[in-house]
C-alpha cells in the first residue's frame, strides 16, 4: 500500500474513481469471497446431512472412534490464534510494531501447530475414507477445513514477512486486516466443523 508511490510528473492514469460506499473494496471483496467459501462448506455439510441424517447410519461408523478430547485441545489452539491476530491488529493501529510482529509470528505458529496436530490425528485414526460413507465425510470436511488453514497460513506468512520488512502503519494496515478477516473465518468455521463431526 505504501510502497507504490506514483509521482511521475508525466503520470497519466485513470481519473480516481468516485467512492460510492463507505465500505473498503478489499474488505467487501473478502466478505463476498467468504460467502462463497461458506457455501462450499454448505455443500459438504449437505453431504454430511444426507449421510448422517437421511441415510440414518450410526455415527461414527461401527468400530471406529473419533478423538473428541484431543481435538478439543487443538480447537483451543486455533481459537487462541484468533486472539493473537486480533492483538496484532490492535497493536499496529496503536503504532506498536513489536506487537504486530509478535502477534503475527504467534498466530502463524499456532496455525501451524493446529495443522500439524490434525495431520497427526489422520495418521493415528486407523481408518480411511474408503472404509465407509461416515469416514468419507469425516475426512472430507476436516480435509476441506485443513486446506483452508493451509491457504490461511500462506496469507499469514506473507503478512508476517511484510511486517518484518517494515510495512503497515497505524494509517495503512488493510493489507493485514483483510487476511485477518479470512483467518477469523477459518477459525469460526472450525467451531462448526468440530461441533458437527466430533461433539454431536
Amino acid at each position: 500500500m505504501e510502497s507504490a508511490s506514483v509521482t511521475h510528473a508525466e503520470h497519466h492514469g485513470p481519473p480516481p474513481a468516485h467512492r460510492s460506499s463507505r465500505v473498503e473494496p478489499p474488505v467487501l471483496g473478502m466478505v463476498l469471497f467468504i460467502i462463497s467459501e461458506i457455501m462450499i462448506f454448505g455443500a459438504f455439510f449437505t453431504a454430511y446431512f444426507f449421510i448422517r441424517v437421511v441415510t440414518h447410519d450410526p455415527w461414527p461408523a461401527p468400530g471406529t472412534k473419533i478423538p473428541e478430547a484431543a481435538t478439543g485441545i487443538n480447537t483451543a489452539i486455533l481459537l487462541v490464534s484468533s486472539l493473537t491476530i486480533h492483538w496484532a491488529l490492535v497493536s499496529i493501529k496503536r503504532g506498536n510494531r513489536f506487537g504486530l510482529k509478535a502477534g503475527m509470528v504467534l498466530t502463524f505458529l499456532l496455525g501451524l501447530t493446529f495443522l500439524f496436530l490434525q495431520v497427526n490425528e489422520y495418521v493415528h485414526l486407523g481408518w480411511a475414507p474408503r472404509d465407509s460413507a461416515q469416514a468419507t465425510i469425516f475426512y472430507s470436511l476436516t480435509g476441506l477445513h485443513g486446506a483452508h488453514v493451509f491457504v490461511g497460513l500462506c496469507a499469514l506468512l506473507m503478512v508476517t514477512i511484510r511486517s518484518f520488512r517494515g510495512h503497515y502503519s497505524p494509517e495503512h494496515h488493510q493489507g493485514m486486516e483483510v487476511p485477518g478477516i479470512y483467518w477469523h473465518f477459518v477459525d469460526g468455521m472450525w467451531i462448526v466443523v468440530y461441533t458437527a463431526l466430533y461433539v454431536l
Binding site: M1, S3, A4, S5, V6, H8, H12, G13, P14, P15, P16, A17, H18, R19, S20, S21, V23, P25, P26, L28, G29, M30, L32, F33, I35, S36, E37, M39, I40, G42, A43, F44, T46, A47, F50, I51, V54, T55, D57, P129, R130, D131, S132, A133, T136, I137, Y139, S140, C154, A155, L157, M158, V159, I161, R162, F164, R165, H167, H172, Y182
Partner: protein
C-alpha cells in the same frame, strides 16, 4: 497517498511462494507465452513427481501411473500456465514485501492484437477477450450439435457410435452452458458495466484478468476430453452419480474443467458486486442504475452463492472416482452406505439458480435495447429491479423440480411445484413491463430490436412450457423426453442466445468503433428466428408422444419428424455463418461508429467509440434516471463535478 484502484487487490489467490534465482533469458523471465510454455512443462513434471512420491510412500506399484498423473496434471498444468503467463506476478511481488512496480498503466489497454493475448487488466480488453473466446466455444458447440442431428436424422443411423453420441451431446451442453452462455454475459458486462456506472475500471483489475484466463482453460479442457482414452465424458452436463464415478478418465476433464470455469465466474461476480457497490459515479443512486447493472448485480449474487455447490459436487465425484471415497457408493459390495440422491440435490441447488445466471443478464440487455429502440422510459422501473431480486431469492427454493421422478421423498414435490409456479410471477412481471414499454412507442426496428422482440415471444413460449413442467403429473409424463429438450432450447436459444445477439448488435459499435451491416443483421435475425422454430418447435410434439432424450436412436414412428428437424437444424447452423461474416467484415471494414449512434442516454454512449483508454477524462455526475427517453430536456449524466452539475441546463452531454 498512493492507494490507487489497482492497489485494492486482496491476497486471496497466491498459491506459490518464492521464485527461482537461476539466471534465465529475458524472454523466460518476463511473464508471457514463452515462460508459460516453460511452466507448463514444470507443471507436468510436478504432477509426475508428486504422484510418484505419493504412490511410493503408499507402496503402490508401479509408481508411475498415467491415471493419477492426468488427474493431478489437469490441476497443476493450468495453474503453472497462469503463473508463467504472469497472472500472479503482481501479487507475488506484493506478498513477498518487495516494492511493487510503480503503477505506470503501461499494461493498460490494447495497442495491437498482441495485447489481447496477454494478462491485461483493462476491463474493455477483458470484455472483448471474454466475448470472443465464448463465441469461439459457441461455434464449436454448434458444430457438435450438427453431429448430434446428423446421427438422429434417421433411426438406426451409424454416423456415431452410441458412446461417441453420448460424448458429443455431453460436451455440446457443457461447452454451451459453462463456457458460452454464462461467460459471454460476463464479457459483455465487463465491457459496458464500468462505463455505465461511471467507473474508470473494475474494482480489482488483476483479479478480472485472472478470471478471464481461467475461462479458456476450462473450455479447452472439456474439449480435450475427446482425446482422453475411453472417449470424452458421456454423462450429460448433469454428470449424475454414480454413473459419473465409474466412467473412463474423460469424466475428469469435466469435473476439473468445471472448477476452472466456476472459479472464473465466482471471481468475476465478486468483482462486479464490489464495483457496483463502491464505484458508482456521484449521483448514481441504486435506483438510477441502468437495468443491465441491476441484472448483473442480481446474477452476481446468484453466482457467489450458488456456484460453490457445483464445485463441491464435482469434487465429490473426483474423490469418489480417484481416491475411492464413498459419497455415492451405494449399491453393491461392502461399505456401500453413500447417498446417491445427495448428488442430485447438490447439483440442482446450483443448477437451477444457474438457469437464472444464464437468463438475468439477458433480461438486462433486453431492457436497454427496448427502452432505446422504443424511445420510451421503462415501464415500472422499480418493479423491474425488485423482480430481479425476487427471482434471486425464489431461485433457491425450486431445485427439486428437476427431481420429480428421481425417487426422492414424494412430499417434497408439492412445495417445489408451488414455488416453481410462484417464480414465474416475477418473470411474468418483466414480460409485461417490456410489453408496456413497447406500447405506443416509436419503435425503431433495428436488428437488436428484432432480436429483443424475438426474445420476448420465444422466451414466453419457453416459460409456458416451464410452468407446464412444474406440474408434477405432467412432468412425470414428459420427463426425460424431447419435451424437455424443447423447453431448454426455447429458454436458452430463443431466450438467452437471442438476448446475446441483441447485446452484440447493440454494443458492437461501442466495442469496436465500427457499425454492423443492418441488412445482413436482418437476414440473420429472420433466418435464425424461422429455422429456430422449425427445429425446436416439433420437439414439443415428439416429446409428448414419448420420444426419449439422450438416446442415439429411436423408434421408427418418430422418423419423419426427426428428419425434418435435422434438415432445419443444418439450416439453423448455416445462419450462424451470416452472423460470423457480418462480424468479421464489419470489424475490418465497417463504417466508423459515432459515439452515440442509437441516441441512448446511459453513460457508456456519452464517450467516444471505442471509449478512451481510461474511459473518462473526469468522472461524470449523474443527475437523472437512465431511461427518460422522450422526456423533454431529460439528462442522465453530465461531465462536471457534482457541485456544478446541479443545474441540468448547463452543457448537457446527453439530450434527447
Amino acid at each position: 497517498m498512493a492507494t490507487t484502484v489497482a492497489e485494492h487487490t486482496t491476497a486471496v489467490t497466491t498459491p506459490a511462494r518464492g521464485r527461482s534465482r537461476v539466471p534465465l533469458p529475458a524472454k523466460l523471465r518476463r511473464g508471457g507465452w514463452y515462460r508459460a510454455a516453460l511452466f507448463d512443462v514444470l507443471g507436468l513434471g510436478f504432477a509426475v513427481g508428486i504422484t510418484a512420491l505419493l504412490r511410493f510412500v503408499n507402496h503402490q506399484h508401479p509408481v508411475i501411473d498415467g491415471h493419477a498423473i492426468t488427474t493431478v496434471a489437469l490441476f497443476s498444468v493450468p495453474v503453472f500456465f497462469l503463473l508463467g503467463l504472469g497472472a500472479f506476478d503482481y501479487w507475488l511481488y506484493w506478498a513477498s514485501g518487495r516494492p511493487t512496480r510503480p503503477e505506470t498503466h503501461e499494461d493498460h489497454g490494447a495497442h495491437s492484437w498482441r495485447d489481447y493475448f496477454r494478462v491485461n487488466p483493462d476491463h474493455k480488453v477483458i470484455g472483448i477477450q471474454y466475448t470472443v473466446t465464448s463465441f469461439f466455444f459457441l461455434f464449436v458447440g454448434g458444430m457438435l450439435a450438427m453431429l448430434i442431428r446428423a446421427q438422429l436424422a434417421k433411426p438406426g443411423m451409424n454416423f456415431l457410435t452410441p458412446e461417441e453420441f453420448n460424448g458429443v451431446f455431453s460436451v455440446h451442453a457443457s461447452l454451451l452452458i459453462f463456457v458460452f452462455v454464462i461467460p459471454v454475459f460476463a464479457g459483455l458486462a465487463n465491457f459496458v458495466l464500468p462505463l455505465m456506472i461511471g467507473a474508470p475500471d473494475m474494482a480489482f483489475p488483476r483479479l478480472n484478468a485472472l478470471s478471464y484466463w481461467l475461462l479458456p482453460i476450462g473450455g479447452l479442457m472439456m474439449l480435450a476430453s475427446f482425446l482422453a482414452p475411453g472417449g470424452s465424458f458421456a454423462t450429460g452436463w448433469t454428470a449424475y452419480a454414480p454413473l459419473s464415478t465409474d466412467m473412463p478418465i474423460g469424466q475428469l476433464f469435466f469435473s476439473i474443467g468445471v472448477q476452472f470455469a466456476g472459479f472464473s465466474s465466482i471471481f468475476t461476480a465478486l468483482n462486479f458486486l464490489v464495483t457496483i457497490i463502491t464505484m458508482r459515479a456521484p449521483g448514481m443512486s441504486f435506483f438510477r442504475l441502468p437495468l443491465l447493472v441491476w441484472a448483473n448485480f442480481a446474477t452476481s449474487l446468484l453466482v457467489v452463492i450458488a456456484t460453490p455447490f457445483i464445485a463441491s459436487s464435482q469434487f465429490f465425484i473426483l474423490l469418489d472416482s480417484a481416491l475411492h471415497f464413498n459419497f455415492f457408493n451405494a449399491f453393491v459390495g461392502p461399505h456401500t452406505n453413500g447417498n446417491v440422491l445427495m448428488y442430485q440435490h447438490i447439483f440442482w441447488f446450483y443448477s437451477h439458480p444457474a438457469v437464472y445466471i444464464m437468463m438475468l443478464p439477458g433480461f438486462g440487455i433486453i431492457s436497454e435495447v427496448i427502452a432505446v429502440n422504443a424511445r420510451k422510459p421503462i415501464f415500472g422501473y422499480r418493479m423491474m429491479a425488485f423482480s430481479l431480486i425476487a427471482i434471486v431469492v425464489l431461485g433457491f427454493t425450486v431445485w427439486a423440480h428437476h427431481m420429480f421422478v428421481s425417487g426422492m421423498q414424494p412430499w417434497i414435490r408439492i412445495p417445489m411445484m408451488v414455488t416453481t409456479a410462484i417464480i414465474s410471477v416475477p418473470t411474468g412481471i418483466k414480460i409485461f413491463s417490456w410489453l408496456a414499454t413497447l406500447w405506443r412507442g416509436v419503435l425503431h426496428m433495428s436488428t437488436q430490436m428484432l432480436f429483443a422482440l424475438g426474445f420476448i415471444t420465444m422466451f414466453t413460449l419457453g416459460g409456458i412450457s416451464g410452468v407446464m413442467l412444474a406440474m408434477v403429473p405432467f412432468d412425470i409424463h414428459v420427463s426425460q423426453t424431447y419435451f424437455i429438450v424443447a423447453h431448454i432450447h426455447y429458454v436458452l436459444f430463443g431466450g438467452s442466445l437471442f438476448t446475446i445477439f441483441a447485446g452484440v448488435y447493440h454494443w458492437f459499435p461501442k466495442m469496436t468503433g465500427r457499425m454492423l451491416d443492418e441488412r445482413l443483421g436482418r437476414l440473420h435475425f429472420w433466418s435464425t428466428f424461422i429455422f429456430f422454430n422449425l427445429t425446436f418447435g416439433p420437439m414439443h410434439y415428439i416429446g409428448l408422444l414419448g420420444m426419449p432424450r439422450r438416446v442415439y436412436s429411436y423408434s421408427a414412428q418418430f422418423a419423419g419428424w426427426n428428419l425434418f428437424i435435422s434438415i432445419c437444424s443444418f439450416f439453423l447452423g448455416l445462419t450462424f455463418l451470416i452472423f460470423l461474416w457480418n462480424i468479421v467484415a464489419s470489424w475490418r471494414h465497417g463504417p466508423r461508429a459515432a459515439g452515440n449512434p442509437w441516441r441512448a442516454l446511459s453513460l457508456e454512449w456519452q464517450v467516444s467509440s471505442p471509449p478512451p483508454i481510461f474511459n473518462f477524462e473526469t468522472i461524470p455526475t449523474v443527475v437523472g434516471g437512465p431511461y427518460e427517453y422522450g422526456v423533454p430536456g431529460a439528462v442522465h449524466g453530465v461531465f462536471k463535478p457534482p457541485a456544478e452539475a446541479r443545474r441540468p441546463s448547463a452543457v448537457a452531454v446527453a439530450r434527447e
